[in-house]
């Protein structure tokens, strides 16, 4: 029933574009809070495993007290294209969250396709770690409806969300996204638009440097992480964090930063590129700076 499962206060589902790590994590956050989700991905295989992965995430959040166990979970509907899922009775979403791969062209296309299907005034949210919202705004018919979020991974466990207000983002769009996030018990921190915004602009070159330190033989992977944790209070260490982000996503994001800022510190270092080439992508592939064999990502 839409009125039971919908976005708090609206009775409408949340549409999520992309069933990868971030899309399924955001879907799990919503479902765990009783919000229905329409999940869309062009990849049939990825979509087929989405329900099981999301269920695992929802249960993880409940287990760790990050999701209210008392709420009936939101309903999950999946589809290969947005056409049927974003239109029709009960399907018009409260908001669309785009979480496709961190590539400006792919994001622009997904955002434009979705924006063409939903009523004006529906917030169109791009979840990105580094691509400026004003660049993506050129692709959509109503830039006032567009706004950025940068959820950390995993979204269902980390309670603070970076929210990026583009030059054209309307006050009403910002207010709706604040309400949406607050309803999901997240704390939104609103920042201005820039390559990498705040968190990636600071964190990603730092991780790149941590990899350079390992490549230079100055310290082992665990030593770098232990020093950053024990001496500087970093919660997981930069290299374990890199594994959690996904090394391919990290490289994509570093290139976005490098091309737009010219900062050579953002040029992905050779070891990082070699690891991606070898398929060592971090936790999701079972191996990155650490081994994760036998764990479910």
């Amino acid at each position: 029933m839409a009125e039971d499962n919908g976005t708090p206060g609206s009775g409408q589902p949340l549409a999520v574009l992309g069933a990868g790590v971030m899309g399924s994590g955001i879907a799990a956050l919503a479902i765990g809070h009783g919000v229905a989700v329409s999940l869309i991905d062009v990849d049939r295989a990825r979509l087929a495993t989405a329900a099981a992965r999301i269920d695992h995430h929802v249960r993880t959040a409940q287990l760790l007290g990050a999701s209210p166990a008392a709420d009936a979970p939101g309903e999950l509907v999946t589809g290969l294209s947005p056409d049927g899922l974003l239109t029709g009775a009960g399907a018009v979403p409260a908001a669309v969250i785009e979480a496709v791969t961190e590539d400006a062209d792919a994001k622009a296309k997904a955002l434009a396709d979705a924006a063409a299907l939903v009523p004006p005034g529906t917030p169109i949210i791009s979840n990105t770690s580094s691509i400026p919202i004003d660049e993506l705004a050129r692709a959509v018919p109503r830039p006032a409806d567009l706004i950025g979020t940068h959820f950390m991974n995993p979204p269902y466990l980390i309670s603070t969300v970076e929210v990026i207000r583009g030059t054209h983002t309307a006050e009403a769009t910002l207010a709706a996204v604040r309400a949406l996030l607050t309803g999901l018990r997240r704390e939104p921190i609103v920042v201005q638009d820039a390559p990498g915004f705040v968190t990636s602009r600071i964190l990603h070159p730092m991780i790149n440097d941590a990899v350079r330190v390992v490549a230079a033989g100055t310290a082992s992977v665990p030593s770098v992480d232990r020093l950053m944790q024990g001496c500087l209070g970093h919660p997981t260490g930069p290299l374990r964090t890199a594994d959690l982000i996904g090394l391919d996503n990290l490289v994509d994001s570093l290139w976005v930063l490098h091309r737009r800022t010219g900062d050579e510190g953002c040029r992905p270092c050779d070891l990082l590129l070699d690891m991606v080439k070898a398929g060592r992508l971090g936790r999701k592939s079972g191996r990155g700076f650490y081994d994760y064999e036998g764990e479910q990502a």
Binding site: R59, L63, A70
Partner: protein, 94 residues
């Protein structure tokens, strides 16, 4: 789904869990040690215990049973398995 004949003796559950934790952490465990304490599992890996118990003992752990306190020691996990196997419907959670 489990029936009474599928029930596992509490001692066997505890032996299995101690072996699982030893394999996973590389240190010795007793039934009362804090699984999430020093040298134990990080909270992020708590779901591994849920998946292991479900696969090994044929139970389904959902809803109100998904609380970290139920997994804090080998003793508590074996009590949870016994309760869920006795309930026979795979779980008492919401």
């Amino acid at each position: 789904m489990t029936t009474s004949s599928d029930r596992t003796a509490p001692d066997a559950v505890q032996t299995d869990l101690v072996q699982f934790l030893t394999r996973r952490t590389g240190k010795d465990w007793t039934a009362d040690d804090d699984v999430f304490g020093s040298g134990g599992l990080s909270s992020l890996h708590a779901m591994e215990l849920v998946v292991h118990l479900e696969r090994t003992f044929g139970v389904s752990i959902r809803g109100g049973d998904l609380q970290k306190e139920n997994f804090r020691t080998v003793q508590r996990m074996s009590e949870l398995v016994e309760r869920l196997q006795t309930a026979g419907d795979g779980g008492t959670g919401a």
